[in-house]
Amino acid sequence: MPFRIPTTAGQQFSLPWIKYSKIDNPSTGWGVALRMFFEIAFFRSLFRNTKADILNGRLYVGSNKWLWIGALAFHYCFLIILVRHLRFFVGETPWCISLIDSIDSFWQIGLPMLYMTDIIIAAALLYLLGRRIFNPQVKYISLPSDYFPLFLILGIVATGILMRYFAKVDITSIKELTLGLVYLNPIVPKGLGSLFYIHLFLVSVLFAYFPFSKLMHMGGVFLSPTRNLANNNRMKRHVNPWDYPVKHRHYEEYENEFREKMKKAGIPVEKE
């Protein structure tokens, strides 16, 4: 880029005595690192989400944090659940996974113990889906590719919850299947119900669908030029790295070549 195109959400660095926002409008690499960290870990730009409404004939714009809360809750629960599943994929579960497990179930409700992430992810997903169904503006811009991942993940979560708390499955046999895959020595244990295979199928669909869908925002967030570039346009010269020498011709050369013809045609020339 000959210059950078960061979103500015705060005072830019200019004169040393003018206070500037180091994270929202960073001028250094460290500032960018912080901005990216807050974006990825806390969805900082979604935190600024606003909502416009007409009340009594007047337009009001107010902050709206529900989407931010719902999205954050969903993503963190998904991460924790995914990490917890590691107990099916490694022979001896590392202590840090067990720790996450015991924190997640520390209420000790029921047996098998209730994971709070299961409740939160289900609630968050229903909210995110409900938003697309009941909010007219969001509904209008929602596409099948918005609903599909929601339904898919809801299906995965529903079958997972059914397996753990209600229908019950033979976990030991399931781990024999998964470890068989990890040790590149696949086996199909007997006695596994269809519920597990539905869960596994939906997960496989999700992973296959992932790279071709909007879910690639997982990788894309790292590559957003408006976020991952320091706003130092006025301090540094940015040269387009793929600029190649363009063939050009000055007007003088042009006129030298065509002067006679131009005169004949009555076109004014600079040099006689």
Binding site: G91, P94, L111, P112, K168, Y183
Partner: protein, 133 residues
């Protein structure tokens, strides 16, 4: 200014994380759980069956135990009628652990395998190693 190396670095980190289940298992032998039912009580039985059929027990023992807790401590109900009509005393210590007196070779075998840590033994007395009371 090309930033390609950052992308390649990110991809490498991603691949390392995603292949963790495989790489973490390298060099570790695969131990299959083999819960043992070789205890004096079970050897004495003619038909070696738990209170319900084996597959049902594999899936549901946790639910049965949880309902037994409520039966015994809340409802004062001390008799469990199995699906084949036989009656059992609702008691972890006196019914389950009477036969399965080898906790570390039976219960722990699978529980450690799938990393579940039942909190039964917070209250109940854990059987001594060797199974002799």
């Amino acid at each position: 200014m090309y930033d390609g190396w950052k992308i390649i670095l990110g991809l490498i980190v991603f691949v390392i994380i995603v292949t963790l289940p495989f790489t973490m298992s390298i060099g570790k032998p695969y131990v299959q759980p083999k819960p043992s039912i070789d205890t004096p009580e079970i050897q004495k039985m003619e038909k070696k069956q738990c209170i319900e059929p084996k597959q049902y027990m594999r899936e549901m023992h946790i639910k049965i135990l949880y309902s037994w807790k409520d039966y015994a401590t809340r409802e004062g109900k001390r008799v469990y009628v199995a699906s084949d009509g036989k009656q059992y005393d609702v008691s972890l210590q006196n019914t389950c652990m009477k036969c399965h007196s080898n906790k570390e070779k039976f219960c722990d075998e699978c529980h450690n395998y799938v990393n579940v840590k039942p909190y039964c033994w917070d209250c109940h007395i854990e059987p001594k190693v060797g199974g002799v009371k």
